[in-house]
């Protein structure tokens, strides 16, 4: 069976699996953003915690993805086989790029602008919300973009621990020695990554303040 006929006959299944993959990515990214941005804001004000937070996040990113899934499976409550474990691993993976860019964006602001903000009588909170965050937005978004692309990729491996998604086709295709089935997972995964990257890059350019 060639790839084209497989795509035609299994179109609905490919589509629903792509949605499942996307769901995995979106949930993980939402959690990662919700954790990493506030943490980034926090470590800007507590420089002592910066090294620790960035260090831990980079340890997670260094562990090979399949190994990270393996480590999580035996852990009670968050581990086991299935989506939940996959989401935990994807979140841990996505943390570093977002956290690092949040920190770099918030601290890389022209000192004269920050001095003026303080001298005008802004409270530290107002400086954060009205000056630092708006000026750091495009840098933070660049981190989210990197994290999203990584997450789309690593999520294909999550199929190995029963999380579903486009990796299912790839692993099945390898087992069946079928290029058509492999491509049914690989092509949508690649397209997802390219489209997400393009859209977020566009948004990033819009938000950039030069």
């Amino acid at each position: 069976m060639n790839a084209y006929t497989f795509f035609v006959t299994h179109g609905a299944e490919i589509f629903s699996t792509t949605l499942e993959h996307l769901e995995l990515v979106l949930i993980s990214m939402a959690i990662a953003v919700a954790l990493a941005i506030p943490l980034g804001i926090f470590i800007v004000q507590r420089p002592a915690l910066r090294t620790v937070a960035l260090g831990i996040a980079s340890v997670f990113q260094t562990i090979p993805s399949l190994a990270l899934f393996g480590f999580l499976i035996p852990i009670p409550f968050i581990g086991g086989i299935g989506k939940r474990t996959a989401v935990v691993a994807l979140v841990l993976y996505a943390l570093l790029p977002i956290l690092r860019n949040t920190y770099v964006g918030l601290t890389g602001i022209d000192p004269a602008v920050l001095e003026a903000a303080t001298a005008m009588g802004m409270t530290p909170w107002q400086v954060m919300w009205r000056v630092r965050l708006p000026l750091a937005l495009s840098v933070i978004l660049a981190g989210i973009r990197t994290a999203t692309v990584i997450t789309i990729g690593v999520a294909t491996i999550a199929a190995a621990i029963g999380a579903g998604g486009l990796g299912t086709f790839i692993f099945r295709g390898v087992a069946m020695v079928s290029d058509a089935v492999i491509l049914a997972g690989a092509i949508p995964a690649a397209l997802l990554a390219l489209v997400a990257d393009g859209l977020l890059a566009m948004l990033e350019r819009r938000l950039r303040v030069s």
Binding site: E115, A116, G121
Partner: protein, 293 residues
């Protein structure tokens, strides 16, 4: 005259035996330029006694690292004295709410420090906004100020700082500092980064503006010409101490060696009466009255 007892009641700003030092552990203020590289237990200003009356324009003159910016930052409580007291409107800065204090004092720095993500209008409206003024009142005030600093023609209000020239940005910086009509204006080398022609233009305009507005102004510079043009009193700092102070018309006669050092940088004939004249000569030589607003 410099040793006369300070008149407490009339002073808008008063330094009472103020020393400020930093050591290796304390937070080093994020200022540009003025910090000496070795900050290990370093006294930046020592035993400063200075009283500034309403409507005075006091120019703090000194070399880099002489402590002039530190004095400025002590006034709006960006720094707190290590010992002694800084009084603003008769009240110690440490007794003020720091945000209320800073909103009541205009502040202009080199390169303006405008918010790049705000339009000119939003930049100027900042402090009135923090002070929760009504929108129509802010709009009126912004228009007034743009006119005051000579940016009323054209579409300046809607532009972003990157769309302005250096001189225009500095004008906006002045307008922003004046927005909430503060009684006190602090200026840290506001014209230092401008080209000589634009700088001379802004200095002259600002000198006229300052006389008209009657604000109490503390102005930091290392440029004696600028000091002679703008000041009602020049205070010379060296190594964190006040070494001389006098009215501009008498300043060049002061015998202190640091005064001589500054004076020797002026043209051969550096009498204050001739300074304005010598500057406009220089302007003509440079650009024939061109330049830009």
């Amino acid at each position: 005259m410099s040793a006369q007892p300070e008149a407490l009641i009339n002073a808008t700003i008063q330094f009472d035996a103020v020393t400020y030092s930093v050591n290796g552990t304390s937070r080093i203020p994020a200022s540009h330029s003025e910090r000496p590289p070795n900050t290990k237990e370093k006294i930046l200003v020592r035993d400063i006694r200075l009283s500034i009356a309403e409507s005075e324009t006091v120019v703090l003159l000194g070399r880099s690292g002489s402590g002039k910016t530190t004095l400025l930052r002590l006034i709006n409580r960006m720094l707190e004295p290590s010992s002694g007291t800084v009084l603003v409107q008769g009240r110690a800065t440490t007794q003020w709410n720091p945000y209320a204090l800073r909103r009541s004092i205009g502040y202009v720095i080199q390169e303006a420090g405008l918010f790049p993500h705000f339009t000119v209008e939003q930049n100027i409206a900042l402090v009135p906004g923090l002070e929760k003024w009504e929108k129509p009142r802010i709009d009126t005030r912004v228009r007034e100020l743009l006119k005051l600093v000579g940016l009323d023609g054209g579409d300046f209000a809607a532009r972003y700082p990157r769309q302005l020239s250096g001189g225009q940005r500095q004008r906006v910086g002045v307008a922003r500092a004046l927005a909430a009509d503060p009684q006190i204006l602090l200026m840290d080398e506001p014209f230092g980064a401008l080209d000589p022609v634009t700088r001379a233009e802004l200095q002259k305009e600002f000198a006229a503006l300052a006389r008209r507005l009657g604000k109490t102004i503390v102005f930091v510079t290392h440029d004696l010409r600028e000091a002679l043009l703008l000041a009602t009193r020049i205070v010379l700092l060296e190594h964190g101490k006040i070494v001389a102070q006098d009215a501009p018309e008498n300043f060049l006669q002061v015998k202190h060696p640091e005064v001589r050092a500054f004076a020797s940088c002026l043209d051969t004939d550096g009498a204050p009466g001739n300074v304005a004249g010598s500057r406009s000569d220089a302007d003509e030589g440079l650009a024939g009255g061109g330049g830009q607003p």
